[in-house]
């Protein structure tokens, strides 16, 4: 009796295991992503299209709360996700540690890849520095632009940033003058996060990333750019200062019509879609040069992937023409393929609002700044700049301290 019972229990356990194995898909690939629930929902849409083409491959989405620690521990455990998001700065470290699969042979065998269709500087960010082999396929990118409240400009009788840019009058000084004119009645001319200073130094002519181990911030050009940023609230009072930024974030200030302009990346456009006032985007101002910061994300395949063939199929579908077309229509970021980015699918994402979507493609994006000790160097610079934002120290002095720290880090 007892033995019969034991056998029965064993049978049930075996049955449970078998049930698990009896999935309809022949193959299984895991895909790790970041972002919110909306992004995951969109990803499921892309995957439905993927399964139309590859019905045998089941894709499991992993969306952890803490992306980088999770990816790192999965790598360390030897069970990485097959395909995962990879930012261009993080790529340097992950590639150096040999965690990422070389995709070049897959790409060579893939007749639908069309390397020339990619924005070259962006694809280049995921190539090996020496061999120029591709280790990641960029999925999308974002540029920083100037969001502006059309109605406020109209009321003030000012030409819009797009018009000013068009006739070559959108320098830092023009931008500052415009912001001054728009600052009144509790509304700031411009709102920007202190952490977004990175758009300014190259505009001011600072060539601050001179090599993978050479980061130079103690130049007059760099200091001038930082001081220009800080003086927007310290001296000219055209932007919310640090305590005001802490009370209400710059993004909310723009959405609640407390700021006429706002500097941010492409991703904001989708959450601003339903605002009940007219807005548009324009290129950032320039000083000695034109520049905007680019954020870039790729799909990489883990070197330890159990299923690299299917993983590549997934990555190449999502970055292929069809995948990019669906993504362009969703509109969260700029397509990586030029044929799609310049197509109407992308330009018409926000047609009802009349947004100049192609402003994102302004031709001065191709400088991907990367260097070693990425996170630590940013921390060092940001830490040094904190008193500058508070008006307690001059940019020049703070940057000299940061430079010392950078030398120490790079010497490690």
């Amino acid at each position: 009796m007892k033995r019969k019972f034991l056998v029965f229990v064993l049978l049930i356990i075996v049955a449970i295991f078998l049930m698990n194995a009896g999935s309809v898909y022949a193959e299984k690939v895991s895909l790790m992503m970041w972002g919110g629930a909306i992004e995951e929902k969109e990803m499921k849409g892309y995957l439905a299209a993927f399964n139309e083409e590859y019905p045998d491959i089941e894709v499991e989405i992993i969306r952890p709360a803490d992306y980088w620690p999770k990816l790192m521990s999965m790598m360390a455990a030897g069970t990485p996700p097959d395909v995962f998001y990879m930012g261009f700065p993080e790529f340097v470290s992950y590639h150096e540690k040999g965690a990422i699969l070389n995709l070049q042979s897959y790409i060579n065998a893939d007749s639908n890849f069309y390397e020339s269709d990619f924005f070259p500087g962006l694809l280049g960010a995921f190539k090996d520095r020496d061999t120029k082999e591709i280790f990641g396929i960029p999925k999308d990118w974002s540029t920083y632009v100037m969001y502006y409240n059309k109605e406020m400009f109209k009321k003030a009788g000012l030409p819009t940033p797009n018009e000013m840019f068009g006739c070559g009058q959108w320098s830092w000084q023009d931008f500052l003058d415009t912001a001054k004119k728009l600052t009144k009645d509790g509304v700031h001319g411009v709102a920007l996060d202190a952490g977004r200073w990175k758009v300014f130094p190259p505009q001011g002519g600072a060539n601050w990333v001179q090599g993978i181990n050479k980061v130079v911030v103690d130049t007059p050009e760099f200091a001038e750019a930082i001081q220009f940023n800080a003086d927007l609230w310290l001296k000219h009072n055209v932007a919310p200062d640090m305590t005001e930024q802490a009370d209400q974030g710059p993004s909310d200030r723009f959405a609640h019509e407390k700021a006429a302009m706002y500097i941010c990346g492409r991703w904001k456009a989708m959450s601003y879609k339903d605002l009940d006032f007219e807005w548009d985007i324009a290129p950032l101002p320039y000083n000695k040069g034109m520049y905007t910061w680019v954020d870039l994300v790729a799909y990489c395949v883990a070197k330890d992937s159990k299923n690299p063939d299917d993983a590549y199929k997934l990555a190449s579908f999502l970055t292929g023409k069809k995948g990019q077309e669906i993504m362009a229509a969703a509109g969260h970021a700029i397509p990586i393929r030029r044929s799609i980015a310049y197509s109407s699918e992308f330009a018409d994402v926000l047609p009802e609002r009349g947004i100049h979507n192609t402003v994102h493609l302004m031709p001065y994006y191709e400088t991907m700044l990367v260097f070693n000790h990425w996170g630590e160097v940013w921390t060092a610079i940001n830490r040094a700049l904190e008193p500058v934002w508070m008006g307690e120290e001059k940019a020049e002095d703070a940057l000299q301290k940061a430079q010392k720290e950078i030398y120490r880090l790079m010497a490690e």
């Binding site: 360390a76 005001e244 996170g375 921390t379």
Partner: protein
């Protein structure tokens, strides 16, 4: 025992065949060599059941505590980015630590925080407990629940809430400060005030827990001592100082040790509310460990810092344990 004849280890055999023999039966069947083979001696049975019962807890301890701790200690002697190749570098991480001014700042910040919690939070918990132990107080249970509520709230939610409460221009805390005529404080943006802000918030969050332990301690004090004190003509202060405090000292000791260990590991508040800033004023040891391990690819170095934290905690606990002989009074 005759283990040699069977392909099963003896404890598996036990699991399948043995039928809980009591000592009497065992005596009767000692001569029966067939049966004896499948039985365990009384001592072994004790051994077996004892270990079986603690096995789940031990498994958890070995797998999730001891093993990671030991491998963490090993990793602290390597240069390792979190994955990929490991390189044995001896004590270089420890040498680096003592020359790293950011780490030293983090240690001081952590000590500052811990002292703040111990000197303000623990006495406050005691006062609350004594107060909520008074029989004349109506709705004691309601207040106990209210003070305990923050303990069970999620730290992330609480941190976000306190970010608003500590806001410079619109925060409730500054509102009260201005009500009593003091200038507003730039809590989370001023390096001098960010850590006091975190201490304030953590006391609000954690005091309820200590209060409950003090309450349990207070209710364990026999009433006779107070009656005797009354007869001797003691006032409330005498009773508190010479009856309550000494008899509460084991609970106080427990609270000081656990609060200290807990405070040394402060992370979430710094991570969510201030991101270690402004100007490093809230960068604590564990926050710095996190940055090194998961953002800067210095897993080996981070392990060394964690080991140092362990050593600090062991030393501090040991000192407390020695000191307790002087002031902890066991009934």
């Amino acid at each position: 025992m005759g283990r040699g004849h069977s392909p099963f280890p003896f404890f598996i055999k036990f699991l399948i065949f043995n039928k809980f023999p009591n000592i009497k039966k065992k005596k009767r069947k000692v001569k029966d060599s067939q049966m004896k083979e499948t039985r365990l001696s009384y001592k072994h049975q004790q051994w077996f059941w004892g270990y079986l019962f603690i096995f789940p807890a031990m498994l958890g301890f070995f797998l999730f505590m001891l093993y990671p701790m030991l491998s963490g200690i090993l990793m602290s002697f390597t240069k390792w980015g979190g994955f990929g190749s490991q390189e044995w570098i001896g004590t270089a991480n420890y040498v680096k630590m003592f020359n790293d001014k950011h780490f030293i700042v983090a240690v001081w910040n952590t000590i500052y925080y811990t002292l703040g919690i111990l000197t303000i939070g623990v006495p406050l918990a005691l006062i609350l407990a004594v107060f909520l132990n008074q029989k004349f107080l109506k709705g004691r249970n309601f207040f106990r629940a209210i003070y305990y509520l923050p303990v069970i709230s999620m730290m992330v939610a609480v941190s976000m809430l306190w970010k608003w409460l500590l806001s410079t221009n619109h925060g409730l805390v500054n509102y009260f400060i201005e009500l009593i005529g003091l200038p507003p404080v730039n809590w989370l943006l001023d390096p001098r005030w960010a850590m006091p802000g975190l201490i304030l918030m953590s006391i609000w969050k954690g005091t309820g827990f200590n209060m409950v332990i003090f309450l349990a301690g207070l209710q364990g004090i026999p009433q006779v001592y107070y009656e005797v004190a009354d007869i001797d003509g003691a006032n409330w202060w005498h009773k508190f100082r010479h009856v309550t405090l000494p008899l509460l000292s084991p609970a106080t000791f427990f609270i000081i040790i656990t609060t200290m260990i807990h405070s040394f590991q402060i992370f979430q508040q710094a991570y969510i509310m201030t991101e270690g800033g402004p100007q490093e004023s809230t960068t604590t040891i564990v926050y710095y460990v996190y940055k090194n391990a998961f953002e800067w690819f210095h897993m080996g170095y981070a392990c060394a810092q964690a080991v140092l934290l362990l050593i600090i905690l062991i030393l501090a606990t040991y000192v407390q344990k020695e000191l307790q002989k002087k002031w902890v009074f066991y009934e």
